[in-house]
């Protein structure tokens, strides 16, 4: 009897008892993808133990192609052998499956609001930031003008709020999260000012978000990111 007690005491003190004992969770991503990072945050928030598999997108594994035949992209979450693709779909799946620390509130109006802003990020912010990163001259001017328009709405949405989810982080925070890391990197690599002092609420949110326990220290290695994005930037802006 005493030996079993010691064993349990040892386990309790030395192992992280995950909230998904007996269930297999795997996450296929890359070392740098912000879409994969959203899923990492959600799993961390819920205390879910998982196996992380970093893919080489220039040489996709057979398993990835099998799990995501439609898009052949990361991230893919595999739960007890069942694959789920598309990061926002994965986030909602995680929230539906593990009920602790909810990503979405129970209130339908609030849920709709978070989903609206998640969609806004995917359909407006992401294409615009890509255009800013990859274009020059008149195209860049147009992209910046669109970006300014988009940011105005995001800034407005943060009025009276600490986070997009209110007091606690929610779906929209996880989806906007890339801003807190990649804007700095893009600014360093391109020399452009992308989020300036016209957006004090957004700048504050970027700081607050980065300091959250779940988010802190999860960013990919800074130097590696600079190298990667510098190379990408140079590809679209060859030196004349």
């Amino acid at each position: 009897m005493k030996q079993m007690e010691y064993l349990f005491l040892f386990l309790e003190q030395n192992c992280v008892i995950a909230n998904n004992m007996g269930e297999e969770v795997k996450l296929y991503k890359t070392w740098s993808t912000p879409f994969g990072l959203r899923v990492v945050w959600a799993l961390k928030l819920k205390g879910i133990d998982y196996e992380s598999i970093d893919e080489d997108l220039s040489n996709k594994s057979d398993l990835l192609l099998h799990y995501n035949p439609v898009y052949k992209k990361v991230p893919v979450l595999v739960h007890n052998g069942n694959p789920i693709s598309e990061s926002t779909v994965i986030l909602e799946y995680i929230d539906d499956t593990w009920k602790q620390n909810p990503i979405l509130s129970q209130d339908p109006v609030e849920r709709a609001r978070q989903r609206f802003w998640a969609k806004f990020n995917e359909e407006k912010l992401l294409p615009t930031i890509w255009a800013i990163f990859t274009t020059e001259g008149k195209d860049l001017e147009e992209a910046m003008a669109a970006w300014v328009e988009n940011l105005k709405f995001v800034e407005e949405e943060l009025k009276g709020k600490k986070l997009f989810g209110g007091e606690k982080m929610g779906l929209a925070d996880l989806v906007f999260g890339w801003l807190a890391n990649l804007i700095g990197i893009f600014e360093e690599v391109s020399g452009l000012k992308i989020v300036d002092e016209r957006y004090p609420l957004l700048l504050t949110w970027m700081q607050v978000f980065s300091e959250l326990p779940v988010i802190k220290e999860t960013w990919p290695p800074h130097d590696k990111m600079i190298t990667k994005y510098r190379a990408l930037y140079e590809k679209y802006h060859p030196a004349k």
Binding site: I84, Y93, R115
Partner: protein, 219 residues
Amino acid sequence: MEGGVVLLDFWPSMFGMRVRIALAEKEIKYEYIEQDLRNKSDLLLQMNPVHKKIPVLVHNGKPICESLVQVQYIDEVWKNQAPLLPADPYKRATARFWADFVDKKMYDSGSRVWKTKGEEQEAAKKEFIGNLKLLEGELGDNLYFGGDGFGYVDVALVPFYCWFYAYEQCGNFSIEAECPKLIAWAKRCMQKESVAKSLADPEKVYGFLLQLKKAYGIE
């Protein structure tokens, strides 16, 4: 408007139709307000300042925007009748994935079919049919995308059916010849009152598309 349900919409919009179907499935009474998109009303601009687009669902004075967000909202508020999303998390994720696929692929690839000519149009038709075939594969031998019952993906996709005639006329092809199972599914959905009374008449849609082409300066 307090306490009531209002839908700001535009009759040929597939996105508006999704919401009409969801409201009809749940037997919700609502006020339908047709919008003139060339002369947007103050109400529309006030209710959807970010995108200035339809459909906008207004419930108890609060606006909800984006059609799939609206359909999920309707499903969550009126949860005791005609559930659209399944209860099982994995089935829900699968439904969300395919509804998202419809959102990402169908409108753009369909638009390219009527906006282009020649080689570009052939490529557009190929892509459009390719997307439909993927959906057909997902449907399999089920009656609906929701399995035995009409559900979320069915709501997301079926409004495009009333645009098929217009696409076929513009592209000179037959969707039924390429995707017979999908057309059979669409006809099955049309047997439901909620769908039949929400979709626009295909001939009228084609007439509208011809006007649109003229406005865009496309032959």
